[in-house]
């Protein structure tokens, strides 16, 4: 680490913007194979899974459907707008608000498809804990939101 001495105290020197930019670009370039892999997986998912196919996995039991909603939202990836549209479509097909909330929330907070890239960047332990916490939180938030909204006329 480069350091200069000022008033007898060592002061860390910040890198020049160009070298910081180069370092940042290189660290991003290193994950390109992983990034292309994740994007390829998202492309496959969006092409192969239709909303009707998605609706067919729900059982009709609100609490089991909350779990299924979290699971299917975790497996999906894409623009959050798509999750809202799909959520609206699932509601129209009679899927409970519990499941739809869980699905939309899991869509943006979890991602099985991006687990490899998260593990590579942040470590297996952190990734595992973060995703387990987010999975259960998503189910709790979905149930609480639906129950609380139900209190309003």
């Amino acid at each position: 680490m480069a350091a200069s001495v000022q008033n007898n105290k060592p002061v860390s020197q910040a890198p020049s913007f160009l070298s910081a930019l180069k370092r940042s670009a290189l660290s991003f370039a290193a994950i390109l194979p992983m990034l292309f892999g994740v994007i390829g997986l998202v492309g496959l998912f969006q092409t192969m899974v239709s909303p009707r196919m998605l609706a067919s996995v729900f059982q009709g039991n609100p609490f089991i459907d909350t779990f299924i909603g979290t699971l299917s939202g975790s497996a999906a990836l894409g623009n959050p707008v798509v999750s809202y549209l799909l959520g609206g479509e699932l509601l129209a097909q009679g899927i409970s608000m519990y499941a739809v909330s869980a699905f939309m929330l899991a869509w943006v907070t979890l991602g099985f498809t991006q687990l490899p890239i998260e593990m590579e960047a942040l470590g297996h332990r952190f990734t595992l804990y973060r995703n387990i916490l987010a999975f259960f939180s998503t189910m709790v938030v979905a149930v609480l939101t639906t129950l609380t909204v139900g209190l309003f006329p």
């Binding site: 290193a30 998202v42 990836l77 890239i117 939101t145 909204v149």
Partner: protein, 165 residues
């Protein structure tokens, strides 16, 4: 600043996805090509965000000294750390995986894991999309969900730190 030697990451994963596409092409040429086209569209959309993330990481490395990061987002950051993490999560754009290199960098500079967990979960709130959510699901649903997401983000970070010990 550490200068680790450059190495490609995730080559095996990329090889598996490439093989999956090759297999899909053999069985259903039309679907494989459609999936490839969808992936191309996604890549095109995320390019500007990649530029933003690279630029933001460089600015952080250039402007913000590690000891400042530790003071604002380290172990002794207190309530301010939570507010910064939640706010950053709410205003951050694009897919989560684009932010991993920057988060990895911040983590190496001493940012608390609890704050990173809170950041990731608060990303569920998408400010530009709130009007659309209100239109689809109503004011009450959107407001209540937003509040619960923020509470859940903090609770997750808090639990992570308790479990870590």
């Amino acid at each position: 600043m550490s200068t680790a030697p450059f190495r490609w990451r995730g080559l095996k994963f990329f090889a598996i996805i490439t093989a999956t596409y090759a297999l899909a092409y053999v069985y259903d040429q039309h679907t494989a090509l459609a999936a490839l086209q969808t992936s191309g569209t996604i890549l095109h959309k995320v390019l500007p965000i990649i530029a933003i993330v690279i630029g933001a990481t460089a600015i952080i490395n250039r402007m913000v000294q590690p000891r400042k990061i530790i003071r604002h987002l380290g172990k002794e950051s207190g309530a301010k750390g939570w507010v910064i993490a939640l706010s950053a999560g709410v205003i951050s754009h694009g897919p989560m995986y684009l932010w991993y290199p920057m988060i990895e960098d911040l983590r190496q500079h001493g940012v608390r894991d609890a704050l990173l967990v809170a950041f990731f979960y608060s990303r569920a709130i998408k400010l530009p999309l709130l009007p659309l959510m209100i239109d689809y699901f109503g004011w009450a649903f959107t407001a209540i969900l937003t509040i619960y997401i923020l509470i859940a983000a903090v609770i997750q970070g808090w639990i992570l730190e308790k479990v870590w010990r």
